[in-house]
Structure formats: C-alpha cells, structure tokens
Amino acid sequence: MTDSIKIDILRYRPESDNEPVWQSYDVPFTNEMSLLEALAYIKDELDPTLSYRWSCRMAICGSCGMMVNGVPKLGCKTFLRDYKNGMKVEALANFPIERDLVVDMSDFIEKLEAIKPYIINDNPRALEDGCHTQSPKQMAQYKQFSMCINCGLCYAACPQYGLDKSFTGPAALALLHRYNQDSRDAGKAERMKIVNAEEGAWGCTFVGYCSKVCPKDVDPAAAIQLGKVDSAKDYVIAMFKPGE
C-alpha cells in the first residue's frame, strides 16, 4: 500500500484570480521524495496548470525557493519525510507572486547588480607578474560569502526587506562584503557608499533569520554586522579628515 501525503499549495493565476487561493493535492509518499519531486508529480499526474521554477535538483541553481509551512526552503532540499502531517507550500515571501510558486525577483537581481559584484582594480597585475597569491587567511575572509546561489531565501526571511523594499538586503550585502574582503580587490571605497547608506548595512536590525535559512551556510547576518563595523570606522576616520 502506498501512503500519501497532503500538500496544500497557494495558487495564483493572474488571468482568473484576484488573489491567491489554497488548493490541496494528495501525493504518493516515499521516504526519499523531495518537495520538488512532489511538485513534478502534481504537474505530471494531477494538475498540469501548476507553475513553479526549478533546474538543477541539487541545491546549486537556487531556482526552487518557496515557503514551506511559513519557512523559506529550497524545494529540492526539503523532504516529505520531515512533513508527515502535510505541508503548506507558497511562493517565496516578500516577493510579488507572478504565478503560483513563481515570484518576480527583479528587485533582488537589481540589488545584486548595484553592489558592484566584481573585482575592481585600476592597476590589475600584468600577465608577466604571474598569478595572484592568497594566503589561507586572506581566502577565509571571503570564501563562505562567495558560496551564495542567489536563491532569495534570505530575502524571504528578512522582515526588514519585507517592510521596506529599499533595504539592500542580506544576499546583496553579503556579496558586497565578499568583494570588499578580497585581497585582489581595490573597490572598497566605492562600495562603502552603499554600506554606509540608510538602506545599506544600517537598514539591518540583526534579526539573524537570513543566516538560519541559508541553504548554503552563508552567514549574511555576520557580513552585514561586519559591514556596520567598517561603516562605523569610516565615519570616525572621516571626522579626522575634515577636508574630504
């Protein structure tokens, strides 16, 4: 006998719905089944109109972010066996719902672009100078922050972003910190303007949920607090340089 599990999904079809509505599905349960596989089962066998995003199925691409019982999760990294009493699935919080489980992430993408997420160096090393060397300590300053897959779970976890969309937000500020900490980079002064702004690091009230929900163990909350430390140093140093 096949056990089944009840999955409630918040549906939203812009052409017919004025607001999202819950719809229930019974999905055959196996111990190894991920939520993403369950959604594929629903789309293939029960309801082809269901929309959701996915690609890699292994927590690399960051496409399948969604709310599971109110907690931001990757569909591919969430298993039915942990939700035997059923699950309520809805589109990632704090983003506009485009259709069903698909959200509009363009605001997040613009923020990622705005923090200059690339190595800035006006005097790059010439080829004949050989390769860059970095000590393990220099690499440890930024490595974990470079593991972000842009899934947006941290934005769904962040009430500050939910309440005020002008806040730069966890992933973008963590990526900013990643480039500021890279010993090959010389763009810190440019990026500090973004950190110092009201909607930069100081827009964060250290809820800390972003780091908790990150599927790749990045610690955006730490990046932002270290950004505040940098920003405070900037402020004090500026007081002693009245000319600038």
């Binding site: 939203y12 812009p14 052409e15 607001e19 999202p20 109110g70 907690v71 919080a93 506009p96 719902i97 485009e98 509009d104 000590s135 393990p136 300590k137 440890a140 300053q141 009430p159 939910g162 309440l163 009230t205 250290f206 809820v207 800390g208 949920y209 780091s211 908790k212 610690d219 909350a221 730490a222 607090q225 270290l226 505040k228 430390v229």
Partner: protein, 129 residues
C-alpha cells in the same frame, strides 16, 4: 498585451507572530525597552542626588517600596535575557584572528560572560567596602 498581474502579499501588524524565530526576535528587541525604562529610573536617582542628600534619600526610600522592588527584579530578569541573546549574537560582529587561525565564536561568548562576571564583582566590591 501583457497578462502580468503580480500579486503583493501584505505583511500586516502581526507578521512577527507567524514565525517563532521572528517572535523571539521581537521579544529580544522588546527587552531593550525594559532596560531603557530602568535606565530612566536610575537617571532620575542621579538627578535627585544632584539635588542633595535629602532628595536622594527620598528616592532611595521610594525605591524600597514593594512595587519598585518587583520592578527591579523584573528589570534584572529582562536584562539578563537581553544580555544572553546579545552575547550569543556578538561573534557575528567580530572577525578576530590569532595568527593564521580565526578566534572561535565560543571564546568571544565566554569572554563576554567573563567580562560581565569581572565587572559585576568589581561593582559588588565597590558597594561593600
């Protein structure tokens, strides 16, 4: 013609009750309000001290009323809660290295508790001598 009609969900005033992590965050932040009220009471005591011995003694006497003792006990409990949550978050704002090794988070947290113990002991000695 575009058929897009993105739907924005509203957070509402009770957003922090829907997730236990957020509820704990609001309690943690709320505890700082209690500390602010306590600080105002203490500042008022300092103000009375500046007005002379009689004024200050009046304030001390008022503070020994049962209601105020309960207030101070509650303030102490909330302050301890606030300190515990603050100490546990402190390592995130610190990037301290000893040579080629990052100082473990547990050292920073222990250091905060150690500092609290030393300062409390110093305060106690000051009061008792």
């Amino acid at each position: 013609m575009s058929k897009r009609k993105p739907y924005e969900r509203k957070m509402g005033a009770t957003w922090w009750l829907k997730n236990t992590f957020h509820t704990k965050y609001i309690i943690r932040e709320g505890s700082s309000l209690v500390i602010a009220i306590y600080s105002f009471v203490l500042l008022f005591g300092l103000f009375r001290l500046s007005q002379g011995a009689e004024a200050f003694n009046g304030w001390v006497e008022a503070m020994s009323q049962p209601g105020w003792i309960v207030f101070h006990l509650l303030s102490l409990a909330w302050t301890l809660y606030h300190s515990i949550t603050w100490f546990s978050l402190a390592p995130k704002a610190a990037n301290i290295w000893l040579g080629q090794k990052r100082v473990p988070d547990s050292w920073i947290v222990s250091g905060m508790y150690g500092a609290l113990a030393v300062i409390s002991l110093a305060g106690l000695i000051l009061v008792l001598i």
